[in-house]
Amino acid sequence: MKIFWEGLFKKNPVLVLAMGLVPAVAITTTALNGLILGISITFVLLASSIINFVVIPLLPSSSRLAMRALILIVLVVALYGVILHTRPGLVAGLGIFFPFMVADAFRLQNSEDQPTFGQVVLEALGQGLGFIWALVLIGVIRELLGFGSIFGKEIISAVLRPMSLAKGVPGGLIIVGLLLALTNAVNKEGGELHD
């Protein structure tokens, strides 16, 4: 269970590990985008972890890396296709950068073999949910500032006019940067960066 909560908070993939920056900055301009993206990533992570758990041990070690990548690509592209065919309007909002989650999902996957199936699922779920809440938070902030609304409902347009900067990438970079700093301050552990 610890592994689940870690992914959710202490090792939140976006706010602590600083993964998924591209989805957060380039795509999550609204809360809805963040939610869809988070759900998509959760799905991809969960599905790929399960498939990996089953398939990867059967493969020779030399081809595991490529195989994992391939599985991810197939999953993401399939998901993209599904969204495109069911809700084409969403794609315009998510933009063409949707498949970027491939890279982040790949980096998030623990390459070491997981001991049990349950742990694999829990980790993927925890990270996915971590993605969801972090991306929705970022989306809410940026939508509020950029459009004056949350999930499409107008909130502040009467008081303070929305600022277009928050919608753009530079504004997104600054907002996400501030959120990360805030997390660091709360965590008190300082920004550990693996470089």
């Binding site: 301009t29 084409p88 063409i96 459009f147 277009s164 900067l165 928050a166 919608k167 501030l178």
Partner: protein, 615 residues
């Protein structure tokens, strides 16, 4: 005894003195700004300075005594500089928020004094420009309208003394030079950055055939060259680096001015060069004593610098002279198979306001299906698109016919996923970008251009077929009209006799004398001659001209619609409407209770403020 290390003699200059001297050097500019713009400008400057100083004191947990609050004085400099580069009409929260941003995020987050990468005041201004465009650009743009930044006029004395509206600190060249002279005298700045910055801009302006004096004196370049680019913390420390930095600022400023209609390129140019400063520093470590032959090296270095600058300028000139060639998909609407599109061989061609409408009429002769081609300026020149309306005048189809947007970016607007979003909308629909219509990530500007273009095209269509009639059916009489100009309301009296405009008199205006004069004297003649409110503007006084036109239009509208002769301008309505128009880049819903006024303002600003906005 405490062990101290040498040297035991120190110059008496301290950080406080440096900062104090910069503050002193800014006094003439503040005085000039306050003299030109009055109390509000003073408040803006004071507020930004105070909030900068307080922000720093609170965030660094300095003791909140007067001394602790003032600290080393660097926050005051940042705040004052920021105040001086804000438009004088800006609301009071803008300087406060800007100063907070500058100090907290651009300075303290980077480690405080001496460690910031970007010039805090400029970064804050860049942020404000992009985030709160209307608060920042309203009057600034008016200045560009009135100051012919690109005209071929020669050395302008009003500009030199500061008789030009706009940003508080950037207007009076004399005051700027006074302050700069003081800094030179105190040896806090040296000639390299200002000279190379202004010099490169000057030369580039000559190369591009612009008026060089105007180029360096208008649009804040002068102020920035002396007070912003020379900011010690964010500019290189090496002599050669300073030259490179200054030249970069000048060249980038002009490039940005060329790329965008916005005159404040210098803000962004200096920010870009700030980011390059560490690189410039490490590439231009100065000549070490005793390493290499000095004289020859210096000459070679100089020649190399000149060479590189020349090559750069040459490249820029080449780019400039070769406007991006647009390869249209279909070069002209005439070749479109309109009959097929409309599904009816019986097509009327109606031309209204230079737009050609292909109309299939129903039994009563009203338009049933309509196709027409509209244009809108995108990121890279006009985007031309075809609109197809169904019998309810809702959009049936939008296709982009011609665009010159960046391959891979702006070009995405041609994708069906984007254009399909318009289907079913009509002129009463809301067209908010990003909400009603999803903007394409990576092609925001172009998307917005299409969105506002479609919206406007629908309005025009409506005006053309169902709107008020044009001139020619004017009722005789004397009418009053009003419109907002950049100095305040402008009032005209229009006399119509025999269905024609016979005289136009400007009753009242408060625009800057000198700049607006050509328009005040020239426009009535033109309007009478053309018998229309829509005439060419007087160059050099664009905004005033526009205001006159819209005031006349308002007067004429009151005649044709038959409304009361007196038009009351509701200042409050104006306040809320103007920024909204600018923000939305197009018409907004008229403020209730001030419908006519709004219409007049619409007319004036719709085309005048053809500003491409950022994201």
């Amino acid at each position: 005894m405490q062990v101290r290390t040498g040297p035991f003699l120190r110059d008496t200059v301290t950080i406080e003195q440096v900062m104090g001297d910069v503050l002193i050097a800014l006094i003439p500019t503040v005085v000039a700004g306050v003299l030109l713009y009055g109390r509000h400008a003073l408040m803006v400057v004071v507020l930004s300075t105070l909030s900068a100083v307080l922000t720093e004191a609170i965030l660094t947990r300095a003791p909140l005594t007067p001394k602790g609050i003032v600290g080393d004085g660097s926050a005051a400099v940042t705040g004052l500089l920021l105040g001086l580069i804000l438009p004088h009409t800006t609301p009071y929260w803008v300087p406060i928020f800007g100063s907070f941003f500058a100090i907290a995020l651009v300075k303290l987050a980077f480690g405080g004094l001496g460690h910031n990468i970007f010039n805090p005041a400029l970064a804050a201004r860049g942020m404000l420009l992009l985030a709160f465009t209307s608060e920042m650009i309203y009057r600034t743009d008016a200045v560009t309208g009135a100051t012919p930044l690109w005209s071929t006029g020669s050395f302008s004395w009003p500009l030199f003394w500061g008789n030009v509206g706009g940003v508080i600190g950037e207007t009076s060249v004399v005051a700027i030079l006074l302050g700069a002279a003081y800094l030179f005298y105190k040896r806090h700045i040296n000639w390299r950055i200002p000279v190379s910055c202004l010099g490169s801009a000057f030369i580039l302006a000559l190369v591009w055939g612009l008026d060089p004096w105007h180029t360096i004196m208008a649009g804040g370049l002068m102020f920035a060259a002396f007070f912003m680019a020379t900011d010690m913390v964010t500019s290189p420390v090496t002599p050669v680096g300073e030259l490179v930095f200054g030249a970069g600022c000048g060249v980038l400023t002009l490039m940005i001015r060329q790329y965008t209609p916005f005159p404040e390129g210098v803000t962004f140019a200096i920010l870009i060069m700030n980011a390059l400063t560490p690189a410039i520093d490490s590439l231009t470590i100065p000549h070490v004593f005793g390493v290499g032959a000095s004289h020859k090296d210096r000459i070679r270095g100089f020649a190399l610098t000149v060479g590189i600058v020349m090559v750069l300028l040459g490249a820029l000139a080449v780019i400039e002279n070769n406007e991006p060639r647009v390869r249209p998909l279909i070069s002209d609407g005439h070749y479109l198979p309109m009959h097929e599109l409309l599904g009816d061989p019986d097509v009327d061609v109606v031309e209204v306001n230079e737009t050609r409408y292909y109309v299939v009429r129903d039994e009563e002769g009203d338009p049933r299906r309509v196709a027409f081609i509209a244009e809108r300026n995108g990121f890279n020149g006009p985007i031309r698109f075809l609109l197809l309306l169904n019998s309810e005048h809702r959009i049936e189809r939008v296709s982009v016919l011609k665009q010159g947007e960046s391959p891979g970016f702006g070009e995405l607007i041609t994708r069906t996923a984007f254009l399909e979003q318009f289907v079913g909308l009509d002129k009463d629909s809301s067209f908010t970008a990003g909400k009603d219509i999803q903007v394409i990530s990576g092609a925001t500007v172009s998307s917005r251009a299409v969105i506002s273009g479609v919206e406007r095209a629908l309005e025009r269509f409506d005006e053309a077929f169902f709107g008020v009639d044009g001139p020619g059916t004017l009722n005789d009489g004397t009418f009053l009209g009003q419109a907002a100009s950049f100095g305040g309301p402008l009032e005209v009296e229009v006399v119509v006799s025999g269905g024609k405009i016979t005289s136009v008199t400007i009753l009242r205006h408060s625009d800057t004398p000198g700049f607006s004069d050509p328009a005040i004297s020239g426009m009535p003649e033109r309007i009478v001659a053309a018998n229309s409110a829509q005439v060419d503007v007087v160059s050099g006084a664009t905004l005033t001209s526009e205001a006159i036109m819209s005031a006349v239009q308002a007067a004429l509208e009151s005649t044709s619609v038959g409304q009361g002769h007196e038009l009351e301008l509701d200042p409050e309505a104006l306040e809320t409407l103007l920024p909204a128009i600018i923000e939305a880049q197009g018409p907004v819903e008229a403020v209730s209770g001030a419908a006519v006024t709004s219409g007049a303002v619409h007319g004036a600003f719709r085309d005048a403020l053809n500003i491409k906005e950022g994201q």
